[in-house]
């Protein structure tokens, strides 16, 4: 037997984005909403992020992941927002019907609006093509974090980390504190891909060497990792012979990027941006399918959870407005990344309200200007001492600034 239900708003994912979206929608007066979480508790990945540094923007204090998420869980309980755990959405149709699997059965839910907040996953060895054998001891940084922080299991003792993403940096410190030896963090780019504060606090403070312009060229060991070979790379990313170094180790951690989870978005026929890996959205955070909104890491990978929360709030507000009959348009002003900018979000804006652009630069710059242009005319210039691809940049624009333009772009000068 498959039961059916109708809700005004279904929110997929009970991490920071989904929780805030649910709270925001409820604040807007939506009673009949449902927050759906696949794990056994709300909070998403924050459950395993026991280090501190969350909430600096929103709460003006540095909280641990569980502390940060608890504030939202408390609010969800206080507001009596309905949520279900251990429940996996396995399908979304274009007419916004969700299929959910959990222990009580298979459920079909017709939603007036849907908010996608599924988070992201880690890029794996297979996607970057690391040569070598396939022994035990190769983990993504997030999986290792889960084992250590949630399951009391130590993934290894002598560790090489490929990739300088934030989780990898956090794990370098965590493993060191638990008595493991982190021999090297290896980054193929000429600069670190994690936040500068994490480079300082997680590597430099512990004397862990960071090898820039290096990559792993071989993994050895039949049963368990025995050694990892790294080498310097040239501008094309090819390794330079004669620069090889071999580390005897039992573990290789991968922190080589995050990918927004959008398998469900694909099933719903939502158009995705190949650069962000997330849906194409307008300034209502509405995707190409009317009434389906996206936020958080499933829209694009964020550097800080505070910004995920803010984006979730926006998605909740707009989904509520949509349910209340607000007419959304695709957005007539196209937003485009210009010189030196990797992506800009949202992709389209309507021009009838203020907007916050999110963007990331392609590479690090010092002493540059971020230039916002409208139809080739400069609207705004922001001086930046440092621009770093690891950091998401946000620019607020007033609707008066761009009201009747056709195109907006952001570039670096």
């Amino acid at each position: 037997m498959i039961d059916r239900e109708k809700v005004d708003i279904a929110i997929i994912g009970g991490g920071p984005a989904g929780m805030t979206a649910a709270i925001a929608a409820r604040k807007k007066g939506i009673e009949n909403l449902l927050l759906i979480e696949r794990n056994e508790s709300l909070g998403g990945i924050l459950n395993q992020c026991i280090h501190e540094g969350f909430g600096v923007e929103i709460f003006k204090e540095a909280l641990t992941g569980p502390e940060y998420m608890q504030r939202f869980i408390d609010e969800i309980r206080k507001k009596e927002i309905p949520y279900i755990l251990n429940s996996m959405v396995i399908d979304i149709s274009e007419d916004k019907e969700l299929t959910i699997v959990n222990e009580s059965g298979l459920h079909r839910i017709n939603a007036e609006a849907i908010i996608l907040a599924m988070g992201c996953r880690e890029r794996t060895r297979g996607q970057i093509g690391i040569p070598g054998s396939r022994p035990a001891g190769i983990y993504t940084a997030g999986a290792a974090q889960n084992f250590i922080n949630l399951r009391n299991l130590m993934p290894g003792k002598r560790i090489v980390i490929l990739g300088s993403g934030d989780i990898g940096l956090i794990m370098a410190r965590r493993l060191t504190l638990e008595g493991a030896k982190v021999l090297a963090v290896v980054e193929i780019l000429p600069y670190a891909s994690g936040l500068p504060r994490n480079i300082t606090q997680c590597l430099e403070d512990f004397g862990i060497p960071l090898y820039l312009r290096h990559t792993v060229i071989d993994i050895r060991g039949k049963s368990r990792v025995e050694s990892v070979k790294i080498a310097e790379v040239d501008d094309k990313g090819c390794f330079i012979r004669g620069t090889e170094k071999e580390f005897e180790c039992d573990t290789l951690l991968l922190s080589v990027g995050l990918i927004p989870e959008n398998e469900l978005s694909r099933k719903a026929g939502i158009l995705l941006d190949p650069v962000t890996g997330g849906p194409i959205v307008n300034d209502r955070l509405e995707t190409s399918v009317e009434g389906i909104f996206a936020c958080g890491n499933s829209l694009h990978v964020h550097d800080m959870v505070d910004f995920v929360t803010m984006e979730g709030e926006l998605a909740g507000i707009h989904a509520a407005n949509f349910v209340r009959g607000a007419v959304n348009k695709k957005g007539r002003i196209k937003v485009r990344p210009g010189n030196g900018v990797r992506y800009t979000l949202p992709h389209y804006i309507n021009g009838d309200s203020d907007v916050r652009l999110s963007l990331r630069v392609r590479e690090p710059w010092r002493n540059r200007r971020l230039v916002v242009k409208g139809d080739e005319r400069t609207l705004k210039e922001i001086r930046k001492l440092r621009l770093n691809p690891a950091e998401m940049i946000r620019i607020e624009l007033k609707k008066e600034e761009f009201g009747d333009l056709k195109e907006l772009s952001v570039e670096i000068k």
Binding site: M1, V101, G126, S133
Partner: protein, 492 residues
């Protein structure tokens, strides 16, 4: 345990397991020895997974004969053993005029071998049935099929086990002695005695032969590398797509293989190597395969691949040899049956080879058919492949089906439990993955890995070092982070 058997089979690949299953139809005590912690951990677990129709092998060879017969047996066998088998057909594609004679040669060979419905099609017909593939002509073989090679091997083993064959995993043969009456097979787990020894040791068949005093065989390991594409690219091709292989390439050329699980695999390369255990991918080969993939299938990018793996062919000829070697399937001396050089089409041929082996034994001994032989084996229920109403009923009966553990492949907790609780008692992450696919998707176990470890701990409470990726030595963890007895607040 019992140490005296009538038959000892050395090697738990698809051939050894097929032989075991064939013997299990008769009243004959059989033991299978496998050095790894599970069956199908060698070549049988890492190949293209193709049931060849039988046009590649010259008429009259054992390869051709067993291929044709194996291909005839497989559909029914897979039905009995609950192993997915899909007859999707194959295209061997010629891109240049001078490759057309090769297609004609294959067709003639196939016709002589008795392969059904082979035809050579032109570019227009090819465009209709396989729009993403371009060429000037193709050999179309509608009866070529795909199956999952490790699922078949596991199924054969489980069915053989049900019917009385004993399996010893983690058992390395170290010596074979024979006298007029019997064989004494020495292993790291003691000695076993038998009347017959079947050598199906794959890459190590030469070493086992040597132990039995037969010299003259040498296995040349030839490594093939593969890349696996994300399932969301599965619509790109419908058939197996093979090229006209380069001369003396050691294989059938880099081809595109849809899998029964909905991925497309690309490979294999062919590289003769020194070390039979060197299963690593090499940087150069990986790169050239990526390039070939992108050439074969426009619209593919490197990031669309989710995993790479290698399989090693057990070849009887070395690099550069012009004449292909045939399978060796023979009784070398009284009671010692050698199966050497079983490379492609070994997966297809396995059931036929198994019958040949039993026939050899039958010539020397009356084998009584077991009246209670059960030809059927039930696999793990695959939740994601069921229609919605069946899924709902299943959850009602058992709520564990309502807990999705592997989100990429939609594998439920009950499937994981069934995979862990398997008849062969193979409990590594790889064994679990091979049985229920958990961890085979795009996140490669990043999310479900920790959950599976949790389920294993709940079911068995094994020691930390007993949890492995693929058996002894491949421990997943080096220990606990904290001693559980310390408790809270004791850290100082």
């Amino acid at each position: 345990m019992k140490r005296v058997f009538e038959v000892i089979i050395i090697g738990g690949g698809v051939v050894g397991c097929a032989v075991a299953r064939e013997f299990s139809k008769y009243r004959i005590t059989t033991l299978l020895l496998e050095r790894e912690s599970d069956v199908a951990f060698g070549t049988s677990g890492s190949n293209s997974g193709v049931a060849h129709a039988g046009f590649y092998m010259p008429p009259g060879t054992l390869k051709a004969r067993t291929n044709i017969e194996g291909h005839r047996i497989l559909p029914g066998l897979c039905r009995d053993l609950d192993v997915p088998y899909r007859e999707i057909g194959k295209l061997v594609v010629a891109k240049e005029e001078d490759e057309i004679p090769y297609l004609e040669k294959l067709k003639k060979q196939g016709d002589e071998n008795g392969v059904r419905d082979l035809r050579i099609i032109n570019d227009r017909v090819m465009g209709e049935i396989e729009p993403n593939i371009h060429g000037i002509r193709a050999l179309h073989s509608p009866t070529s099929a795909i199956l999952c090679p490790f699922t078949l091997t596991i199924a054969l083993a489980e069915n053989a086990l049900t019917n009385g064959v004993r399996f010893l995993l983690n058992t390395v043969v170290t010596g074979i002695q024979s006298n007029e009456r019997e064989f004494i097979v020495r292993t790291n787990r003691g000695e076993f005695i038998s009347d017959f020894v079947i050598n199906s040791a794959g890459l190590y068949a030469d070493k086992i032969s040597e132990m039995a005093g037969i010299s003259g065989y040498r296995i040349y390991p030839c490594r093939g590398e593969y890349h696996i594409l994300d399932r969301n690219k599965s619509g790109l091709i419908k058939h197996l797509v093979y090229p006209v292989p380069p001369i003396n390439s050691g294989g059938l050329g880099v081809h595109l293989t849809p899998t029964v699980h909905g991925n497309i695999m690309l490979g294999p390369s062919a590289e003769y190597i020194e070390d039979k255990d060197d299963e690593g991918n090499s940087a150069d080969t990986m790169d050239s395969l990526y390039k070939e993939a992108i050439e074969l299938l426009p619209g593919i990018e490197k990031r669309d691949f989710i995993r790479s793996f290698t399989g090693i062919r057990a070849k009887l000829i070395s690099s550069g040899s012009e004449k292909p070697a045939d399978f060796v399937i023979k009784e070398e001396f009284d009671g010692f049956i050698n199966l050497v050089g079983i490379e492609s089409p070994g997966l297809t041929s396995a059931p036929a080879i198994a019958r040949m082996v039993v026939d050899i034994v039958k010539r020397k001994r009356d084998l009584e058919i077991k009246s209670d032989f059960n030809p059927r084996r039930k696999g793990i229920i695959r939740f994601s492949e069921l229609p919605a109403n069946k899924q709902a009923t299943l959850i009602q009966k058992n709520p564990n089906y309502g807990r999705v553990v592997c989100r990429c492949e939609t594998i439920t907790q009950q499937e994981i439990i069934d995979a862990i609780d398997n008849p062969l008692n193979a409990i590594s992450l790889k064994s679990i993955k091979n049985r229920c696919r958990a961890g085979m998707g795009r996140c490669q176990g990043g999310f479900c890995g920790p959950k599976i470890v949790e389920i294993i701990e709940e079911m068995f409470s094994p020691g930390v070092r007993e949890m492995t990726l693929k058996g002894d030595g491949s421990e997943l963890f080096t220990g606990r982070v904290r001693d559980a007895r310390e408790g809270m607040g004791n850290e100082r």
